[in-house]
Subunit: 443 residues, 2 copies
């Protein structure tokens, strides 16, 4: 079975001028790999019709699929539709159903529809509409004839959210239907509390033994993705030259040994896309246990609350929190004794504990979580340099505490503090990441 070759084409001046980092390219590449589609080239061109047409023609001559993102907006520098039509040698046709949808869309929002907006209802003749349930720019699929055969271009908006939904819901089913794709099973392990090279070292012997065990596992592709303070270990069952390929079950059979190797830093394992972020794990776990939570944040400035409340249904567990940026707020709202602040400073174990216990009591929550630290760039001292952050988690029976030493800039310090705080709460829940086969799950 020959593999399916794909080009990626991202369109927009802002991608070439560096105004925007091209994350769409990475997303599309990831999805293609999971599908078993081989991306051989990615091109980015400006919002110029001739340049877009050239790139589409080149893709048509080299690949069977071209995934396009960008240039579908209502303004005059949105040229993907006209360029695709020119590349195919066809004209445009107005889709009355799309026009009606645009009119309804604008009416429902009380906004005036101007003629430019209706351009978004025009597509190349022969194009198939790819619905966009969350935006005004419909996508489309259109077949170009290349030197070596047909190439289908799938055009999506540049807005990441819209592009991603269209890729998952509209394009991937079409690719699966059109081509005999062999998907690549994946398994993703998420850890917080160990560095990338440490994780690599810890799991090395486990993976080596696995490779020796079966020809499928021998060919699996292992990679590590780090976003400090988290590390992901990703196993991909890429096929070997003889077609040997590990199954999803074979990958999962490594869970127990990998969990033991990584230790308590490991917090979740899942196939394919992998486990969600910690906040998305934590909220349902809290709700399930009937626990409420409240945050007391200094250096993270509301980031823990914002992360937890990003999850739908979080109102069943999040009572709220206090952003106690100024010491006066720590004292007056959270009840941290002024003498404790005076004696130990705002970034100290006693203050972190008092904040977590204070917000727990003040808001009547089961769990209180606090952060106080030096995010930088100023404010560091030799004893407490920038990146010193104290985190505490208070429950009815005890308050746990951890001092972090984070290296990096202000946003890194804040981000890492939030993830660490969530991890400490997660650890308090005692979730078994990989249940032991010889034990019953806790009731």
């Amino acid at each position: 079975m020959a593999s399916v070759r794909a080009h990626l084409l991202t369109i927009g001046d802002e991608l070439l001028s560096g105004d925007i980092i091209d994350k769409n390219k990475a997303f599309l590449g990831q999805r293609c790999r999971a599908l078993g589609v081989e991306v051989v080239r990615a091109t980015t061109v400006r919002d110029r019709r001739g340049e877009i047409v050239s790139a589409l023609r080149e893709a048509a001559d080299d690949a069977q699929v071209c995934l396009v993102s960008g240039g579908l907006g209502p303004t005059t520098d949105d040229l993907t539709v006209a360029s695709a039509a020119a590349a195919a040698g066809v004209g445009l046709v107005r889709h009355e159903d799309l026009a009606a949808r645009l009119e309804a869309f604008f009416q429902s929002r009380g906004r005036e529809l101007v003629e430019a907006n209706l351009r978004q209802a025009d597509l190349p003749v022969g194009a198939e509409v790819l619905a966009n349930p969350i935006g005004t720019a419909a996508g489309f699929a259109l077949t170009l004839q290349g030197h070596a055969g047909p190439c289908v271009i799938y055009s999506t908006p540049g807005v990441p959210r819209e592009m991603q939904l269209m890729m998952r819901e509209q394009i991937e089913p079409r690719l699966r239907e059109r081509f005999a794709l062999r998907p690549v099973p994946r398994r993703v392990y998420r850890a917080l509390g160990r560095g990338e090279s440490t994780v690599q070292q810890l799991v090395g012997p486990v993976l080596e033994a696995a490779r020796a065990r079966s020809p499928g596992l021998a060919h699996m592709f292992v990679h590590y993705r780090a976003r400090y303070p988290e590390v992901q270990l990703i196993l991909e069952a890429t096929p070997g030259p003889d077609g040997d390929q590990a199954s999803a079950e074979e990958l999962a059979s490594l869970d127990r040994a990998l969990a033991e190797a990584i230790g308590p830093a490991l917090y979740a394992v899942a196939p394919d896309e992998g486990p969600p972020e910690l906040d998305a794990l934590l909220v349902p776990a809290l709700v399930e246990r009937g626990l409420t939570i409240a945050s007391a944040e200094s250096c993270t400035g509301g980031g823990i609350g914002f992360a937890l409340t990003s999850i739908p249904g979080s109102s069943a567990t999040v009572l709220g929190g206090v952003i106690s940026y100024a010491n006066q707020v720590k004292i007056e709202v959270l009840g941290v004794p002024a003498s404790t602040l005076e004696a130990h400073g705002a970034v100290s174990e006693p203050v972190a504990r008092a904040m977590a216990e204070g917000v727990r009591a003040r808001l009547g929550a089961d769990i209180g979580v606090s952060t106080t630290g030096i995010a930088g760039p100023g404010g560091g001292t030799p004893e407490k340099p920038v990146g010193t952050v104290d985190v505490a988690v208070a429950t009815a029976d005890e308050t746990i505490y951890k001092r972090l030493r984070i290296h990096g800039r202000r946003d890194t310090v804040r981000y890492a503090s939030i993830r660490w705080a969530l991890k400490l709460v997660w650890d308090r829940l005692g979730v078994e990441v990989v249940p032991r086969p010889d034990r019953r799950p806790p009731s």
Copy 2:
């Protein structure tokens, strides 16, 4: 003077599989724009010799400069040197000074130098070395002959830190020396409260009149960048075919008319990279005025606090805030009367006002800002659908209030609410975005 055309070429399987987001492309694009080098295309290819050679030849035929990143490591899938030599039709030559440097480098780290490492001392015949003071991979400059003339390729490592240093210290001086570069002035207008197509329509006549006024302005490039609820209008003084190019002053001369066209949605104007985000404008403006601020957040869950405290120095103005997710917190911590909640519901004008006034009083701030709304996906009613958000800003003299109707998913509703809340605070400061020439600035 014709502009200098450049291609960017990033090399590596990991860029096409989405394992790595291609930030090098954005960095190189930014530097080029600032230099006055016009990036017309970016290509990413795999670690395959034939594919790299093709991309280099295409660049040589279309551009005078090709900035290459990646493929300079010591392993067998690092093929940039061999590919560049093939594209130029030359062989490789070992640079003994680079070999000696590699040997010293390995020795100083107590690591064994293997033959593969010495490959990093081989460069195409005729290439000029670009020093890499912080890594083992030297870069190089090599001239290829294209259809329309010579094209210089500048090859850098894929490691961002090494690539960035090489670009700044080695490549940019060479580009300035080789070409008579003319930087492209830009002007960026940021607005919140008008959609992308509305902004386009409003400024249309102003831009049309400007184009008719001078040959430089006639060739300026106009684009719009939207991140709901914000829109940026960007003017770029790209040169016309006869070299006509608007100056930075000419672009700035449009400020007054554009500000009048866009109206109060416009909140900042700046040249080049444009104005920073609202939070980065707001914090220094508050500090300058000696004003303190506190937030009372329901649906935004801490996001306003997190945004404000992302700015270094925010502790001089941000006292903190209350995340009043549960009604009980609104009542007990913010002092919202239970009867008001009962009578009007949590998402209502009286509650938004009471929250802003309550947090202002409770924390002793000059300004209180509040949000209460339905972020979704659940919780909407016919009268108050998902996306209904009430925002209030309380100061000593008055409390202003606005009801938002945001369309989108939970994260969009929350993000837009935060930006709107910051915009309302910004508006309260009465900053004149474009000072009227006929008025003195307010004292």
